[in-house]
Symmetry: C3
Subunit: 473 residues, 3 copies
């Protein structure tokens, strides 16, 4: 379109305007789309029920009755809600042979048995329906695609019609992606109705873990104290218990984020090739590692705030006061314990450094930052720095526990302290990783990841088969 | 151009180079533009006052006198400052019929009565002037548009000339947007001189509010103490007073960020349609909600730091010390108050959770993050999570105040404590929202937002009129 | 291609499919590329060693033997590792006259004397080799270039062949950049193997500085105490010493980030023109200012955490306890020192405000945020706010030191306290800046930055010569 017109200018010196596009519907989306088309050099004609009363349309556009508007253009955008599609069937003869672009979305999932685009196609027989632009908001159209999703997903049964919509999308500054036949329309119409699909599993894990740790600690601390000593320390729920649950969830989720990678390594070693598909649960797990990590960071952040607020808590000030006064009364002194000084300071230091690295990992997973890294840099940050973070946080937890696991008093009602539970998964991950980076195992894994296959495992055509594992390994 | 050349290759097997572009001026911008044009396949000719002395131009470009350079190309970029435009009038015959692209910017606003592009058009009569590329920096041209503003705004009186510039911009990897006739040039030249226009109102609100709260608290705390008890506690200005002003401003601005949405809901209920334009002040207010929220977050962040620093303050250590010693001397003990323990811990907990959610809101308003969300996800985060944040922060403030509002001693000089003032706006917003989400009201608002209109309010052509409200509702 | 096909549709009403592209190799990259090509409207043919066994290729593609696949297409992507290039020489006759696109990367730098693309060109004599797409990951191809690096770097010796690859890249939604002849291939193959090249220098500076300050403080505090008083305070290493090193490194690196700008200003004043090239070390230094600043922020962040953790440290609690008890025993009271209250509170306040602004600077240097600013806004934030940050942090350090520099006891073993060392560079930068913004100097610098040149310094053609200084000044 676009470039062709210039070619003609060069040859003949005559000007060739971009084609006319028709838009049915003068709502938010219709107006934003029209403005953008005009800005990109198209002529725009609106089809309206009452053309004379249509105000506030973009300057430079024309407005007519539906039939008149359609007659000027080859491509007609239907920016009308599905419930009002009815009038289109009466325009069938005017629309004969045209390309109808369905941009509609539904308010809820599963409202209708068939997609809006397929319904439109059935309703107006002589036309070619293309589904497109439904993932683009009116806002993205107005703001020029600059800081908004730039990807237009397109589907339809006629390649030629699709290509015309692709051209329009590209002229408007968007990237077009063909998603297949019109049967894919249902899927496309589902996209804007999704609510964080990749976050669902990690979020559920986080909620269940938090609830479990919270009730575990509640039983061990508050209920035990109540039953055994008859003391009510339920006020601890707000900060002390929260500050037990949050770091534990954070550590477990951080290690869950690195566990699938380690498992995949062992699986590849066992299979002797990287061209075996991973089991589905592992695939799914690997795809939500980023979300697991970010939730772990959020819980870690809360843990930091809950910890830093400790010295201004009423209860803590009370305890310190009581302790000081008791020392004075007993004419005692606070004996300085050098080991305790080392231990506590190391404990805080590990935690701070671990959290600092964790924040760095979080920042590099922001889309705009990770895009500016090349593959090697991304792997270095997310894998090397990630494992160092895990190591520091695990060491932080070990230093917190110190020798308490040896003291029988720690096992109230045969329940070990919560922090001990939290160490299981990280230790497993770190041990697996340790095995994977021993020189002899590492050499094998590296060879396999570069495409090498163990004899006897090799398939007829080598690396060309059975290969659909996730790209990030 | 671009694709046409390939088409010709396909047909004839002969190669068709992209056209020649001329650049007047060999400064930073001229050189960066030339390099980029060369990289995209254009031939580049520089026009210079002293062609023989022009060093450091991109490899592959040619440099000639202005007249000779212009003769080879149809499009001439004028990368010269407005003050030096004079020499162009003498080239009028050489430039006859060419497209002159004005890329200039001024150093200050309002230096000249007419825009640079219009001045250029007047100066060289036979040419077509197009204003473009002035919002793109030399840096963005060099770095390949990768992590820099990718949008080229274009205006001019001749559609054909504009189309040629659009093609060049697109070949260079930019998105082109037509902004109308050459009269829009003044507006385009203003864009790079703007300094945070959307932040101005929120920033002024923040500064005024901070000043007011600061002086209010200064009067109530420091001056009152001085006048009544003759004690000088002016040192409190640095932290205690700042830590009163910051959280109050943060809470008020957070609620100001949600107030217009609630007002708009009631206005739509009252009008019985969403197709009534909002009053201008409400429109303007709604457009700067993001900035209001981010400033509130910044103040909240300062509040967190000021709070966490409390236990290492000299004054606080002194007070605790004095209190402990006085207890020892009076042979007293610190009576543990279970309610106080609950209250303080809940107070901190609400604050921490509120701040955590607030940071999450801030992160999702980063351009690269909000682009990766669909509309439903964005609304969920900014509306649902936003109201929960407001609720938590308001609860945090209520718990801080507790029953102090009942004590007459709190009303020094008939001035209530500052935190009470801060609760007015959030409570109004929360009550309005509560009304809006009661089932019967909610049903009406939802219907209206989906396009339904109350009988008697309907206009001749229904939804096609009077509709220009902001797209984010 | 793309648009041409539509032009033909318009003229003849007949559909013109996009051309056929051949891909050799069915690994991750080959499959992702094929899928993307299909989605953008191309026909895709795979060349495989064993076509019948090739499963999991994108739906819609065909798979044949290498020779048969190559015969249908003009452009052949070679998505095979360099070690397997051997088989291509036997296909020389089938590939005669085709364009071979080399997308390969090596595992390590310097494995081979010549680039993969040049080797390929030597191996298959009759073809034209274009190096492209090697900086794009399979992941970026799959995710549609939406939130991944969108820039395809291309090099090759034949402009026509390159243009065909440019067209394909653009149809796929990428931005193409020509990087010259095939000799540039080695450079392109190096890009994905780079590991934070711009961060290397700042990181080395940070590590050396940290080590120096750490050992300096270790000598002055821990070893001095051990030697002089025989006391072991080595436990201080974990937090106290770290919290000396981090803020000092942070402050020095922040000022190192503003020093080159100030030096450049003086150099321009001395030269009397901005069209003199800066010395190489200054150029290099100016290019890594962002990295210096972000590292300074990271160290500042650690400093904040290390500071806030102070009140919960074992040692600090011990000290406070001991002090309180000693006061009680001696029947003494803590004398309130108004100056100390002012000083400590100001000290904390400066630090918090400085850190707050510093975080703001960090946020605006995120790619997606800095892209949404215009040049004037970016300069305002990074320069004006940056200097205010530096000023606040320097004031913070001065208030920390207070009058200690007057006390001989501070100079143990003739070593001044570490914080004094840290003040040297920031003070130099602030004094230089102060000189630069005095009205008379500022006027000159501004004139020079706008292109003015001092008489006697002017070159034959004025501003057109010798000009290659960095664009950010």
């Amino acid at each position: 379109m676009n470039s062709d017109s210039v070619a003609m200018t060069d040859l003949s010196g005559k000007m060739h305007k971009l084609e006319t596009v028709c838009i049915f519907g003068t709502g938010d989306f219709g107006r934003s789309l029209g403005l953008r088309l005009l800005q990109s050099g198209y002529s725009v004609v609106y089809g309206s029920r009452a053309p004379k009363n249509s105000l506030l349309l973009p300057k430079g556009s024309k407005v007519m009755t539906h039939a008149a508007a359609a007659c000027d253009a080859h491509v007609v955008f239907v920016a009308v809600q599905r419930e009002h599609y009815g009038f289109l069937s009466s325009l069938a003869s005017d629309l004969e042979g045209k390309v109808l672009v369905d941009v509609s979305n539904n308010l809820k999932r599963g409202l209708y048995p068939e997609s809006n685009a397929e319904y439109l196609s059935r309703l107006v027989p002589g036309v070619t329906v293309v589904k497109a632009f439904n993932t683009i908001s009116a806002w993205a159209l107005q703001s020029g695609g600059l800081d908004a999703n730039r990807q237009v997903l397109i589907c339809g049964d006629c390649a030629d019609a699709k290509q015309q919509v692709v051209d329009i999308a590209q002229s408007l500054g968007f990237t077009a992606l063909d998603r297949g036949s019109l049967r894919a329309a249902a899927e496309l119409e589902d996209l804007p109705l999704q609510l964080f699909p990749l976050w669902r599993l990690p979020l559920n894990i986080a909620i269940c873990l938090t609830a479990f740790i919270f009730f575990y600690a509640l039983t061990r601390d508050v209920i035990y104290e109540r039953v055994t000593n008859g003391k009510d320390i339920a006020f601890r729920i707000m900060i002390s218990l929260a500050n037990k649950a949050f770091p534990i969830v954070s550590l477990v989720m951080l290690s869950l984020c690195y566990l699938p990678g380690a498992l995949a390594g062992f699986l590849q070693l066992y299979n002797g090739t990287k061209y075996h598909r991973f089991p589905d649960w592992l695939d799914h797990w690997m795809l939500c590692r980023k979300q697991l990590g970010l939730l772990a960071l959020a819980f870690g952040f809360l843990h930091v705030l809950y910890t830093l607020v400790i010295p201004i808590r009423y209860y803590v000030r009370y305890r310190i006061n009581v302790y000081t006064i008791s020392l004075v009364k007993d004419n005692n002194t606070y004996e300085f314990d050098n080991t305790a000084a080392w231990r506590y300071d190391s404990y805080y230091s590990m935690g701070i450094l671990g959290f600092g690295l964790f924040v760095l990992l979080g920042i590099t997973s922001l889309p705009s930052v990770s895009n500016s890294l090349n593959w090697r840099e991304f792997c270095f940050v997310q894998s090397k720095l990630g494992y160092i973070t895990l190591l520091l946080c695990t060491a932080h937890t070990f230093l917190y526990g110190w020798d308490r696991f040896l003291k029988p008093a720690s096992y109230r009602w045969w329940m070990p302290p919560a922090y001990m539970l939290s160490l299981v998964v990280p230790c497993v991950v770190l041990i697996l990783k340790l095995i994977l980076i021993t020189p002899c195992v590492d050499r094998n894994v590296t060879r396999i990841r570069q495409g090498w296959e163990r004899q006897g495992k090799i398939s007829a055509n080598g690396r060309d088969t059975k290969t659909n594992h996730p790209l990030i390994a």
